[in-house]
Amino acid sequence: MTTAEHPAQTESQTDTAVNPLTAPAPELWRDPNAKPFVVFDGITKEFGDFTAVDNISLDIYKRELFCLLGGSGSGKSTLLRMLAGFEQPTSGRILIDGVDMSGIPPWNRPVNMMFQSYALFPHLSVEKNVAFGLRREGMADGDVKRRVQEILDMVQMGHLAKRKPHQLSGGQRQRVALARSLVKRPKLLLLDEPLGALDKKLREETQFELMNIQEELGVTFIVVTHDQEEAMTLATRIGVMNQGEIVQVGEPHDIYEYPNSRFVASFIGSVNMFEGVVTVDEVDHVIIDSAEAGGLLRVDHGISCAPNQKVHVALRPEKITLSHDKPDQDVNCMFGKVEDIAYMGNMSIFRIRLANGKEVRVTQPNYARDIKGKFTWGDMVYLHWEVDSSVVLTV
């Protein structure tokens, strides 16, 4: 998977509509006085002797598009299913809009879910699938029709209302599933791998559409996904999960640039990791002596650690610059041989072998057309980067 390389670019493409009604969600999580909309309070879920979710506490705010990101078995789906009411937490509480959800069955929760498999009822037409939830509320016929028509038009499926699910394509099914889960106007919409079943191109289009709908309706979304690129694009905030725990919560940019652990750093995007020992520990910078990197590494942020503690310096491949000439710096500089080049179109990936045998991954944007020949197989090159490019990780 090399799709991890350009989240920073996609981020800047985000539609910045200025209509006050469709303005992006206020960043409530930065406001210490804001009241959270969804609260996980010490949630643990055990299946037999397996702990799927381990003592998670998490606040999610109104109008957020929160992504739970993790590998399979990380507990992200279980968390979502507990929110929907399909599973009961072994211990802990879930509050939605201040109401304790324990003991409230799924059919009485102000929550709707879009399923990974879409779960469209195969025996009902598109229209009836969407109307299913409204009928359960006992809504009058005319109102049901109007609401169904409205929402189907919004997802551009109005013309296929009479079809059965098996007569639809994957993308169309996804739209119907979305319409069905939105039509009841839930306070909170849960999406389980919403784009997982779509092919790459369709997925990218749908991502933005999903964000527009979310902003338009002002619904709070919680999305479960294993696709980090999807999470980076969609989310206002991301919660990274591993083995039943939330290891980091933050905005996409923070998660990418300031991972708090080696797990997060290597789970999201690709990263070079150098082990070393702290030699200088000041308030504004640290210097790390790394045998792996073959030199001194300087990072311009202080850390709290014991002297001589073993730490890791994480460095994203795109932060490194390659040059034939020795750069004018004695820290953050390495020398190695180009072993492999992969031309990706928008950029090239270099695999560089240091003298001590360590392999470093570097990506360089192809800013000019004939840049290809600049570095070639077997070249000896210098690798260098700025002091604010890397992060020190103690765990």
Partner: protein, 316 residues
């Protein structure tokens, strides 16, 4: 190991419906009614059979003695257990022979059914979809028509002056009509004929899923068709083979109709013995003893083996 169980619990079936499970009233009805029905009409009958197998035959209605007698005047209860029926089962080689002969007939006919059924299942599974549907329907059709009538059809066919003998004589294979009806041969023919669909369907189910590229891979790696068959196809079809064999073997052991209609008077099968004890000799305790032994030595081990293999292999 821990991960494995966790994963199966986590992603597995039965994860949902906590609410239906907690819906007390609905739960009681849905579990309770079939439970009570089966307890009353499936489980308790066996207790009754066992009880009666311990009593003595008597000329009365019903034709057996009571296990318990209760003398009201003396407030004296007696429990009279008669193991005579079981001892007699052991003593008289007739019963043992009948059991063994049933097992033998069931085993041989299962093997024949497998040999005939496998190529048919294989052919159906490898046909193009339209043809496959048609052939499958051809296999299922006899299965839905009356079993008794199909056995009866063989009676007519196998008669001394019936069509089978006619054909055999006209092609010069035999000089005079063979006695086929009322022999073990006829029983085998009847059993194989009746139970063939039961073998083909589970075999088809596994062979249909068999990936053609596996066979091609085997050939690519140097297997001759014959070797491919025994080294790849057969091992992969094993679940179907086992299921099919069980579906044929078990009911055949207790078969009554086929030996009664096609077999001779010397065709000994345990189902027939039980029936005769019951209806001809009116010896209900003895019939019960035969049934008890059959249950213990035949059905129970098979049930246990099946449960161990897991309920996944239901082929119905």
């Amino acid at each position: 190991m821990k991960k494995l169980t966790a994963a199966s619990l986590y992603a597995g079936k039965n994860r949902l419906m906590g609410y239906l499970a907690r819906h007390k009233w609905g739960r009681k009805v849905v579990v309770g009614i079939p439970f009570v029905w089966l307890a009353l009409f499936f489980f308790i009958p066996f207790v009754v059979v066992f009880k009666i197998s311990l009593s003595e035959s008597a000329i009365a209605i019903p034709p057996y003695t009571d296990l318990f007698s209760w003398d009201v005047e003396d407030a004296y209860a007696t429990l009279k257990v008669n193991l005579g029926n079981f001892l007699f089962l052991l003593e008289d080689s007739y019963y043992l022979d009948a059991y063994l002969s049933s097992l033998k007939i069931a085993a041989i006919s299962t093997v024949i059914t497998l040999i005939i059924g496998f190529p048919m299942a294989y052919l159906i599974a490898r046909s193009e979809p339209r043809r496959r549907m048609f052939l499958l329907a051809m296999v299922i059709l006899p299965f839905w028509t009356s079993f008794l009538l199909r056995v009866y059809a063989w009676m007519a066919l196998l008669k001394k002056n019936g069509p089978v003998n006619d054909v055999l004589m006209s092609i010069g294979l035999i000089d005079e009509p063979l006695r086929i009806l009322n022999t073990d041969i006829a029983v085998y023919i009847g059993i194989v004929y009746t139970y063939l669909p039961f073998m083909i369907l589970p075999l088809y189910a596994v062979l249909e899923k068999l990936d053609n590229s596996l066979l091609e891979a085997a050939e690519d790696l140097g297997c001759r068709p014959f070797q491919t068959f025994f080294l790849v196809t057969v091992p992969l079809a094993m679940p179907g083979i086992v299921a099919g064999c069980l579906l044929v073997f078990i009911p055949v052991v207790g078969e009554y109709v086929i030996p009664a209609l096609l077999g001779g008077s010397d065709t000994l099968m345990i189902g027939r013995v039980l029936w005769d004890e019951f209806s001809k000799n009116r010896d209900w305790p003895m019939a019960s003893a035969v049934a008890t032994v059959m249950l213990v030595v035949l059905v129970v081990p098979i049930m246990l083996a099946r449960n161990r293999m897991g309920n996944k292999e239901e082929t119905y």
